[in-house]
């Protein structure tokens, strides 16, 4: 035992103490405050949840717990004491010895964090060998052991694959195993499940929680998803723009938040609009009829998909990644021609390819994208971005066009004088998404495809976007197709739900119908996998379903 772990773990023993930590970051040649004096205490074996919106300084604080700062940041004040060592006073050499061995880090995107040129197990062994904790053979058998505990398939051979040969959820678990390689005292999890599907997320959450408990490892769990943190953490700290809002143990925090800001975060998930009654006897705005489609030469991605979207209604299309949600959108917009079947607009068949469609047909179907960053041309000003569709489709020019742009900006609740001449890079994520919406409604469409429009946004911002879309729908008589994997969004805004799996519609119907049992087994799994704001939720789920009946394993059984 080289790490002083021989002593019996004592839960009251303090492991990490951060006092009055100030961190500044360089932005446009001035130093901006990122963290303004945050205290943090962590005992051995304890899990602390860090919650906040993007820009709150969660990740920066998490990294500071390792004595690390990103490029362009510096810790200006405060102290960080890890197990009696002042991290800020250590040399780089000393810190290097500490990191990976006693403090480990699990990043958000496992896919981007593994080196694709090396086998997983070789990357696992790297840090135990570097730190002289284990021999190679010891490390290999330990890796296989951990892979088994993480419920990874075929642990003996799992590690001999490359990162692109395993699924995202498996990769995230492999990374957690890697963090445990030297049996560290502290692991920092930076949004480890944000990029995963709900069903996959559960496996990772269950694995992380088990392993953290078993090794009595302390952890800092960073996330913007309250329900996830509620499952993982013993206590929760809420951050806002670099300041601590409040801290309490998980149960207290969930039941009885003190600060207004925390309450508003909690309230977000309760937004839901009234469902509209089903329509009959009307011609739907969009009909997808028996569509089978696929990309060049590959197998069919969509198999015999049929559903319809009526005027002023929102249809949510839900499913895991790879279920064909986005492909359906591509067929509707005409980017992908179906092999069989067709898409009808207001009763008449649309040409398969967008190039063959008339300008008016194009105008009526608009799209809002997931990543507002890549959906807006970064070199065009807001004025030009919004004006283009109005100018193209409606022939507006000069003064009338300018007035229309201003009107559209007011409709999306952005002050025209302030924003009209800005570039997209000068806006926040939520504002960019609003511009995306303005561009779509500038064409005066009757149908809008919303492709995961809120999944890249913070919850409060996302709620604002959903409310805006809701309002625009009733003002402009729009129909929406909402592609999402987030069932909270579905609950908030949908009238009808279409559940897709492997390119097939497994179930569709009214929202209330869909959320009441009995379900198709897949719908059941999907609904059951959405974390709830109850710290006991994961326990109950694991108890009722069993560890083998969640995530990929459960899906595999359905085949």
């Amino acid at each position: 035992m080289t790490t002083g772990k021989g002593a019996e773990p004592n839960n009251a023993e303090t492991l990490l103490t951060m006092r009055n930590v100030h961190i500044k970051g360089l932005s446009d040649e001035t130093w901006v405050d990122i963290i303004n004096g945050v205290d943090l205490d962590l005992n051995r074996g304890e899990v602390l949840g860090l919650i906040g919106e993007s820009g709150a300084g969660k990740s920066t604080l998490g990294l500071a717990a390792m004595g690390f700062c990103r490029d362009g940041c510096k810790i200006t004040e405060g102290s960080i004491i890890f197990d009696g060592l002042d991290l800020l006073a250590q040399s780089k050499e000393e810190l290097r010895k500490l990191r990976g061995r006693r403090i480990a880090y699990v990043a958000q995107s496992a896919a981007a964090s593994f080196n694709p040129a090396h086998k997983l197990i070789d990357q696992f062994c790297e840090s135990p060998l570097k730190h002289d904790v284990m021999q190679k053979s010891e490390a290999v058998s330990y890796a296989i052991d951990l892979y088994g505990q993480m419920n990874l398939p075929e642990p003996e051979i799992f590690g001999y694959r490359y990162s692109h040969e395993v699924s995202g959820g498996q990769l995230q678990r492999a990374m957690t195993a890697m963090a445990l390689a030297c049996r560290p005292d502290l692991i920092i999890f930076d949004e480890p499940t944000t990029a995963l599907d709900v069903t996959t997320q559960i496996e990772v959450l269950a694995a992380i929680r088990d392993i953290v408990k078993q090794f009595n490892t302390a952890a800092i769990y960073i996330s913007h998803d309250l329900a996830v943190v509620a499952q993982m953490a013993d206590k929760i700290k809420v951050l806002l723009k670099g300041d601590e809002v409040e801290q309490a143990d998980t149960a207290t925090m969930l039941d009885n938040p003190q600060q207004e800001y925390t309450k508003s975060l909690w309230a977000v998930r309760k937004y839901a609009r009234a469902e509209q009654a089903p329509v009959t006897g009307q011609v739907p705005v969009i009909e997808i009829e028996n569509v089978t489609a696929g990309y060049t030469k590959a197998a069919d991605i969509l198999k015999d998909v049929t559903f319809a979207i009526h005027k002023r209604r929102t249809v949510a299309v839900v499913g895991e990644s790879g279920s064909g949600k986005s492909t359906t959108a591509r067929v509707i917009t005409g980017l992908l021609s179906p092999r069989k079947g067709c898409v009808k607009f207001a009763g008449s068949e649309l040409p398969a390819s967008y190039q063959a469609r008339s300008r008016d047909q194009l105008r009526h179907i608009q799209m809002i994208y997931q990543m507002a960053d890549t959906a807006l041309n970064p070199k065009l000003r807001i004025r030009d971005l919004i004006a283009r569709p109005a100018n193209m489709y409606l022939g507006l020019n000069g003064k009338a066009l300018e007035e229309r742009v201003r009107e559209l900006l007011r409709m999306i609740e952005m002050e025209p004088d302030q924003y009209i001449d800005r570039l997209p890079s000068e806006l926040s994520g939520g504002q960019k998404q609003r511009i995306g919406i303005a561009r779509a409604i500038a064409a005066e469409p009757s149908f809008i495809i919303c492709d995961e429009v809120t999944s890249a946004l913070d919850q409060l911002v996302a709620e604002g976007i959903l409310k805006l879309l809701d309002r625009l729908q009733s003002e402009l008589d729009l129909s929406y197709m909402f592609i999402t994997h987030d069932l909270a969004t579905v609950r908030a805004i949908a009238d009808e739900v279409v559940v897709m799996k492997d390119g097939v519609v497994v179930e569709q119907g009214q929202k209330t119908e869909m959320f009441t049992p009995p379900h198709h087994p897949y719908t059941e799994l999907l609904l059951g996998s959405v974390p709830e704001m109850d710290p006991k939720w994961l326990d109950r789920l694991l108890e009722s379903r069993g560890a083998d009946n969640i995530g990929d394993a459960a899906i595999a059984k359905m085949r």
Partner: protein
């Protein structure tokens, strides 16, 4: 000691260059409008120096007849006169004033190089982005054709083409522009391939935009940074290419002055320890460096890199 001496003078030259760069930048800040001044203030001293050199060259090129003391092609006196107060840099093999020819040479060489580079970029960028946008067979055919053209060494290829089409200024411009546009094509295509996958291009396509709009408004502005850097480099290569061709007698034809042929005409003098033939070569080198300084600065700004 000679080494130390050389080092010392080198440092002095660099210091003077940077100081003049600073002076020129201050001057530009003073005379330009407020937003422009703010932009110029971000220029490093090297870029200030680069701007100064480019300005001087442009002035020489535009006002050559007024600055040059003698006619471009006038034979004034005996050949190979030494440097005197009348003939500042002496005379060449035919007795023409080297200083005057140097100034006229700026006009010819720089002007034609600029024309060629602009033409190469117009063709190469448009074709490259078009290929990236269309993809599939069109992209394959265009790219493979460019590969074939690029497989032939450019100097030999241009010598061949010029021998076939004659050595007029127009054929010189067209031949070098065609050869260089293949290089620009490659770059423009590879930059555009990444851009065409982005959602805003898809959105523009679905809006029903024409290809010309997609190229000029959606893709080109976002491909500007690497293309601008390439423009600077390409300009230098073209410049050197013209000089090289002129040196070999296939570039600009006498009696038109250009820096490449001036080196050749007076090459004999080098054997006698006279540095006069090296001055046009130095002029080429100086402009090349100056252009790259400015391009580096613009690229740095456009890419948003932080120090």
């Amino acid at each position: 000691m000679t080494f130390l001496k050389v080092l010392f003078w080198l440092l002095v030259v660099i210091a003077i260059a940077l100081f003049t760069g600073w002076l020129f930048r201050q001057l530009l800040v003073r005379i330009s409008s407020a937003p422009m001044a703010k932009f110029i203030k971000t220029a490093p001293l090297t870029a200030g120096f680069g701007l100064l050199v480019i300005t001087i060259y442009i002035i020489c090129a535009v006002f050559a007849p007024f600055i040059a003391p003698f006619e471009e092609a006038a034979i004034l006196t005996s050949s190979y006169e030494p440097w005197t107060s009348t003939y500042l840099l002496g005379t060449d093999n035919l007795g023409r004033d080297v200083f005057s020819r140097l100034i006229y040479g700026a006009r010819n060489t720089v002007g034609i190089a600029f024309l060629i580079t602009a033409l190469a970029f117009l063709v190469g960028t448009t074709a490259g982005i078009y290929a990236a946008l269309k993809g599939g067979l069109i992209d394959q055919v265009m790219s493979r054709l460019v590969d074939v053209l690029m497989a032939i060494p450019s100097l030999i290829f241009s010598l061949l083409m010029l021998t076939i089409f004659g050595t007029s200024v127009i054929s010189l411009v067209l031949v070098i522009a065609a050869i260089d546009s293949t290089r620009v094509f490659r770059l423009a295509r590879s930059v555009a391939v990444n851009i065409v996958q982005l959602d805003y291009i898809e959105a523009a396509k679905l809006r029903g935009e024409k290809t010309s709009y997609l190229i000029s408004r959606e893709i080109l502005p976002n491909a500007m940074a690497p293309l601008a850097a390439e423009f600077g480099l390409r300009f230098c290569f073209v410049f050197l290419m013209i000089s090289a061709l002129s040196f070999m007698g296939l570039g600009l034809q006498p009696p038109t002055a250009d820096w490449g042929s001036m080196v050749r005409d007076n090459a004999d003098l080098i054997s006698f320890g006279d540095i006069t033939p090296l001055i046009p070569a130095g002029a080429i080198a100086l402009l090349t460096i100056a252009v790259n300084f400015v391009v580096d600065w613009l690229l740095h700004r456009a890419s948003g890199l932080k120090d």
